[in-house]
């Protein structure tokens, strides 16, 4: 389980619950005697130095009674929660093993019970089971069971759809075993988290029952009972009701805060805290006035010193299509995100000089930077739905760009949007503009996103795996469109892909990344046969194409790319997978020019 976040509510919750547990343990032995001590001389007193919360009708000290009642109240709440969770989890899991029809009956019963008011269910059960602690515990337990049943059902349904359950079914594993070995262990965590919150609810519920006189009966007492006894005196001596009321409220809040914090901690893995890499000064050197995009010394750092992108430099000339290739985890997408100012929290871009369309992004004000990025940069992602709002019509979303960044009127913007949609070869652009994104096919959506980029006058188009989710025939059309757009508008394109064949087909120049660094940069004509870096060569050799000899095994690279946290600080990151590695590779080779527009970071090449 992930660690608890250090937020005030989480700390408060943990503190209160710890305190309650300590109280439950030490309460009765410390104050038990005092709580039962009848003193005829001090009946129905208000607060005094001797009795800070006053005394009851037998002269017993109320503070001691509140402190002692902690164990009983918490014990009952725990029992109630376990009963509720037990019934609920069994009900929720039953449909997974029962025959289909019986399963449906159970599911609909749970649905009906969820809709039924909990308090009514509790009172109904309590009355049948008889007055007293037993009735209250059963009542509240039954009342919280439907919630647990529903949660179990929902969680189990999501696990039941997993491929590993399908695999187990194919292997002939019986349903009961699938439930116990695959489903329950994988839903245990959220269920246990929910227990904490249910515990808070049960505590409040039990207090409520006792307060209504349906719960704990004398001579036993819990907080609810004490509240019930003190309530009749609230106008005369309010402090006698205050003690148990505060105890119930604080305990309820404590469990809910802790449950909340636990659930939050489980739903996200908190970033490791630790030293962050020192600031790297922007590299010196004259900027290239011709380049549309000039990146030098770009690093992206995450807390803990993890650097997925390391001192990366890149230039893209007007009209040029540059392909950035690498395997997953090579840092290629984060590079694109850093250029667009979209690095996700808590990542930090450092040491970079970023020049877009001749302007240094570091020197601009926030507003100027937004305007520049909004009008000169177009971004296309793998999932077009990431760029389109599913609730808005396509035309309106495109028009938004012109309204916000170019100050166009609604009508002008709309006209331009339809024009742009036609430009990316969407049939009947006027009609498409009035549709919602989900009404378009994947390829059409990707066209709409490209059209959105063309609403301004983009100097640079960054396309991050724009065709990975598309079919090959649609991929071909989108690649053709990107070429056309680049030729027509003179915009430079940075095309990011894991597929070296696609990059080879589309791009003018190829930049190969490995473990956060550029290892080779070369013109596309040399990609197939002129690549020099052993990684690039292996990547090309391992790719089957329509001419590959089927009788020969495919080349493959042993081992795996180090994750960003494991990349060696010194030495070549590829060395331990490389057939050519020598002792020299313990020192990291820098990118060295090797002929026209071709540079390689490898010791074995320059010899």
């Amino acid at each position: 389980m992930a660690r608890l976040p250090r937020t005030p509510p989480a700390i408060a919750g943990a503190f209160i619950v710890t305190l309650l547990v300590v109280l439950a343990i030490i309460g009765p032995p410390l104050w038990g005697e005092q709580a039962e001590l009848i003193n005829a001389g001090a009946i129905l007193q208000g607060a005094s130095a001797e009795h800070p919360l006053g005394t009851d009708n037998l002269g017993r000290d109320l503070l001691a009674r509140v402190l002692v009642a902690g164990r009983f109240s918490l014990g009952l709440a725990l029992l109630t929660t376990l009963i509720g969770a037990g019934i609920g989890i069994v009900l929720g899991a039953l449909p997974a093993i029962l025959p289909r029809r019986a399963g449906r009956v159970v599911t609909s019963t749970v649905n009906a019970l969820v809709a039924f008011p909990g308090l009514l269910l509790a009172m109904f059960t309590a009355v049948i089971a008889g007055l007293g602690a037993k009735g209250a515990v059963l009542g509240i337990g039954v009342a919280i069971a439907p919630g647990f049943a529903r949660l179990t059902q929902t969680l189990a349904a999501s696990v039941a759809g997993a491929d590993y359950v399908a695999a187990a079914r194919m292997l002939g594993v019986p349903r009961r075993r699938i439930l116990t070995t695959h489903v329950l262990p994988n839903i245990a965590e959220p269920l246990i988290l929910n227990l904490t919150q249910a515990m808070g609810g049960a505590l409040l519920g039990l207090a409520g029952m006792s307060f209504l006189g349906l719960g704990v009966q004398p001579p036993s007492f819990d907080w609810g009972r004490l509240l019930f006894d003190g309530f009749s005196r609230i106008y005369v001596t309010p402090e006698v009701a205050l003690g148990p009321a505060v105890a119930v409220a604080v305990a309820g809040i404590g469990f809910n805060l802790l449950g909340d914090a636990l659930a939050k901690a489980a739903s996200r893995t908190t970033a490791p805290t630790g030293k962050s890499a020192g600031e790297v000064p922007p590299p010196a050197g004259e900027p290239d006035p011709e380049a549309v995009l000039e990146v030098s010394g770009l690093s992206v750092t995450f807390p803990g010193g993890v650097r997925p992108v390391r001192e990366l430099s890149l230039t893209v000339a007007p009209g040029e299509i540059v392909g950035l290739v690498g395997e997953s985890g090579s840092g290629k997408s984060l590079t694109a995100a850093a250029i667009g100012g979209l690095v996700p929290y808590p990542g930090v871009v450092s040491g970079a000089r970023l020049r877009l369309a001749g302007q240094d992004l570091g020197e601009l004000s926030e507003q100027q930077r937004r305007k520049l990025l909004g009008t000169s940069l177009a971004m296309v992602f793998q999932d077009p739905m990431a760029s389109l709002n599913p609730a808005l019509k396509v035309g309106g979303q495109l028009a938004e760009v012109a309204v916000v960044h170019q100050g166009a009127t609604r009508a002008e913007a709309r006209e331009r949007a339809v024009d742009r949609l036609g430009h990316v070869h969407l049939p009947e652009p006027d009609k498409q503009a009035r549709r919602h994104p989900h009404e378009l096919s994947g390829g059409m959506r990707q066209r709409a996103v490209i059209a959105m980029g063309l609403m301004g006058t983009p100097k640079l188009i960054i396309a991050d795996e724009p065709t990975t989710a598309l079919d090959v025939t649609v991929q071909r059309q989108i690649l053709r469109l990107l070429r056309e757009v680049s030729a027509e508008t003179g915009a430079a394109t940075l095309f990011i892909s894991h597929d070296i064949a696609v990059v080879g087909e589309l791009c003018d120049r190829v930049v190969v990344m490995y473990a956060g660094r550029v290892v080779e940069e070369l013109p596309v004509e040399q990609l197939a046969t002129g690549a020099r870096h052993p990684y690039t060569r292996a990547l090309i050799a391992s790719l089957p194409d329509m001419e590959t000899d089927r009788t020969q095994p495919l080349a493959s690279i042993p081992g795996r790319q180090p994750s960003p946290a494991q990349v060696p600080e010194q030495g070549c990151a590829f060395a331990d997978r490389c057939a050519l590695a020598t002792s020299r590779c313990a020192e990291r080779p820098s990118l060295v020019s090797y002929g026209k527009a071709h540079s390689v970071a490898c010791w074995e090449v320059d010899s």
Binding site: A166, D471, Q475, R476, E525, T529, S542, D545, S556
Partner: protein
């Protein structure tokens, strides 16, 4: 193994429409098509995961390997326990059998005690293949098993598929959207489009002399690295 006139309907929608394919013993049949062509539904029907009409003959035990190796292994189960799920051997011999299966997919025996999160995508896919082999299938259905993997790993998994077929005489229905990959591993290729089988023949014939219009457009769209 013969699939005859297999049809899968979801309500009024026909996902697979009267498809017949024969997989000869020890043969690899490649199945290509785009998303929505019905190829994955066919895989699930053949594996008994969705109800179908039609007949499947000559293969009693069918196992499937899934596309996403990150979703097909139970994260709370050790690799050894996952692989052992399909093994029928008595308890005493089970560990030796798991080791043998891991050996078949070129994984060291130590991997058995590890959990999926500690393995790379390629290693996980090998574990999934080992688990399927444990049930001694007559037919292995491989549904896009390399498309979630990095290129540098893809090659070794494809080599493994070829090796298993040679060593074990395993019949394989190999499904992929990538024609180059299908061409590399298969003896014959079936092309699906809109739920129907539009072309089926020996690999060379389908790739070099496609008869159907759709196969031709698919072949044209394959990105090629021009080797000067």
């Amino acid at each position: 193994m013969k699939i005859e006139n297999l049809t899968v309907r979801y309500g009024s929608f026909t996902a697979v429409d009267g498809v017949s394919i024969e997989v000869p013993p020890g043969g690899v049949v490649g199945l290509v098509g785009e998303s929505g062509s019905g190829k994955s539904t066919l895989a699930r029907a053949v594996s008994g995961l969705v109800p179908y009409e039609g007949r499947i003959e000559g293969a009693r035990r069918i196992q499937m390997v899934f596309q996403d190796p990150y979703a097909s292994l139970d994260p709370r189960m050790s690799v050894g326990a996952s692989v052992a799920e399909g093994v029928r051997a008595p308890r005493a011999q089970r560990q030796a059998e798991v080791e043998r299966l891991l050996g078949l997919v070129s994984l060291p025996a130590e991997v058995a005690t590890r959990y999926p999160r500690e393995l790379s995508g390629g290693q996980r896919q090998r574990v999934a293949i080992a688990r399927a082999l444990g049930a001694e299938p007559d037919l292995l259905v491989a549904d896009e098993i390399t498309s979630a993997l990095d290129v540098s790993v893809q090659g070794s998994v494809l080599n493994l598929v070829k090796r298993l077929r040679e060593e074990l005489g395993l019949s394989i229905l190999f499904i992929s959207h990538n024609l180059a990959v299908v061409r590399y591993v298969s003896d014959s290729v079936a092309v699906m489009h809109g739920g129907k089988l539009v072309e089926f023949g020996p690999t060379e014939q389908v790739v070099d002399e496609p008869t159907h219009e759709y196969t031709r457009s698919l072949l044209e769209a394959v990105p090629r690295l021009v080797r000067h």
